[in-house]
């Protein structure tokens, strides 16, 4: 363990953080909408120095065999080497796959996108929604930043039109059929205390983390634990903290 990690752990054991925040404090959150002209919807979200752009693109393709009348949603994440000295070029690694899949589950399980409204011709043609997460600068808590950016981008997406087997990206009339605002909150455990919105330095020192996706009605719709083990009572504490913070973050989406 290096000195910085030990320093963060020592602070954490007293409930303190090296940037002066309290356990439940978020960094300054900045949300910009429609930042990418060619995308159907997009958002740039910053939590302090962590910055993510999410773009939504749409196309027409074949539905999955088991859901012939339902649109298709896909989420990918790219930990671009521009964002951190630790990111490398090459095929997606474990971290980016987990990031994409956790954000995916939060959105998919909340049934936020009304996929049945995206059917064009049953069994043949449906709209496909591609949500791509691009990390611009990595300073921790990427799951929460990406999830918030994805939900914001989807809420501001406009559908292209489909005429005579051609997608017209110039003519966007209708909004993408979305309904809820699922919020993903990651709670980290450092030295036995719980923190939200961890920085990269804090993530290097943390013991474990749990990401919880919470729907508008307060129900949870996705959970992912990472790192070391936890007791049942710790899990409940994490859920309570995540539920509390989700209410605050949901107000930021419009």
């Amino acid at each position: 363990m290096n000195i910085q990690e030990q320093f963060i752990k020592d602070l954490a054991s007293k409930g303190n953080r090296n940037d002066g925040r309290k356990e439940k404090d978020y960094r300054e959150i900045i949300i910009e909408k429609d930042v990418i002209p060619k995308a159907e919807g997009s958002a740039r979200v910053k939590f302090g120095d962590s910055e993510v752009i999410v773009g939504v693109k749409m196309g027409v393709g074949a539905p999955f065999g088991d859901k012939p009348d339902s649109g298709v949603m896909m989420i990918g994440a790219e930990l671009s080497p521009i964002a951190s000295p630790d990111f490398e070029t090459g095929p997606p690694r474990e971290d980016s796959i987990e990031l994409a899949r956790v954000v995916d589950r939060g959105i998919r399980e909340s049934k936020m996108i009304d996929l049945e409204k995206l059917c064009i011709e049953k069994g043949e043609k449906v709209w496909m929604v591609f949500i791509d997460i691009q990390i611009i600068n990595h300073d921790g808590n990427l799951i929460d930043v990406a999830a918030l950016a994805a939900v914001t981008a989807l809420h501001n997406s406009k559908m292209p039109t489909y005429e005579k087997d051609v997608v017209n990206y110039e003519k966007k009339t209708k909004k993408l059929p979305v309904r809820f605002k699922p919020i993903t909150i990651t709670v980290a455990k450092i030295s036995g205390k719980f923190f939200v919105d961890t920085t990269l330095e804090e993530e290097n020192a943390m013991d474990s983390r749990v990401s919880v996706a919470i729907k508008d009605d307060g129900n949870i719709c996705a959970v992912q634990k990472g790192g070391d083990s936890l007791t049942e009572s710790e899990i409940h504490q994490i859920f309570d903290l995540a539920s509390e913070k989700a209410k605050e973050l949901r107000k930021l989406i419009n």
Binding site: A100, C221, V223, G226, S229, D240
Partner: protein, 227 residues
């Protein structure tokens, strides 16, 4: 009480079969069956880490690879890693790591390979059960065995070890892994839709079932090693 597809009670798992020492070449191995789901795990190591740039100067690296073989599912699944299998390999590693003493032998690796040869729901949990027994079978010092199962809710009823069509009917699916001695949860995932207050019941049922699996794991190791 709701009748389940295969006539089980809500808190009843599928028939479980565990066998340690199924692959001669491996340092440790195990086969675990949960109904029609079958996973085989092999452990190699601790051995020198290659490539050497992946060595850790002060600890053993645990490397897990979960994979479904092409004929394990109704529709043939493509061989090689997928996004799903990469994620499961990661959470499997994190489910097993807390049970191991990884800071004892530097520059080495413990490889855990899990092949799901027949899939009928619960493949990641069955794989973790097999891997845990295989690690013990390899004689690797452990704090505890790791037992794993999923619980979920169908309608108002909490059920354990979801199988077959049940997985599609559930309002939530919570796979966990658990170390019974220290009561630590080492794997926790969930998808679905559930009020926070109901989560406790699901977690309780899953941990209780893990204690039963734990017994069977120990029996299997006993059969292999206690003459």
């Amino acid at each position: 009480m709701v009748k389940r597809e295969d006539g089980r009670k809500p808190d009843e798992m599928r028939p479980i079969e565990i066998k340690a020492g199924v692959i001669k070449n491996a340092d440790g191995s195990a086969m675990v069956k949960f109904g029609k789901t079958i996973a085989i795990a092999a452990v190699y190591g601790p051995r020198a880490m290659h490539p050497r740039r992946m060595q850790e100067p002060d600890r053993t690296v645990l490397r897990c690879r979960y994979s479904m073989v092409p004929f394990s599912t109704t529709d043939r699944c493509r061989p090689g890693p997928s996004r799903r299998s990469t994620e499961i390999s990661k959470v499997t590693r994190e489910a097993l790591e807390p049970a191991l003493f990884l800071d004892e032998i530097p520059k080495t690796v413990i490889d855990v390979f899990i092949d799901v040869i027949a899939a009928d729901a619960g493949t990641r949990t069955t794989g973790i059960n097999a891997a845990s027994v295989a690690l013990a079978d390899a004689g690797i010092p452990m704090r505890d065995l790791v037992a794993s199962v999923a619980a979920g809710k169908i309608g108002k009823e909490v059920m354990v070890d979801l199988a077959g069509k049940e997985e599609e009917e559930t309002s939530c699916d919570v796979p966990i892994a658990y170390m019974p001695r220290s009561k630590q949860v080492t794997l926790l995932q969930m998808d679905g839709d559930i009020p926070v207050k109901d989560f406790n019941d699901v977690l309780k049922m899953a941990t209780k079932s893990c204690e039963q699996i734990y017994k069977k794991q120990k029996e299997a190791l006993g059969e292999r090693w206690i003459k």
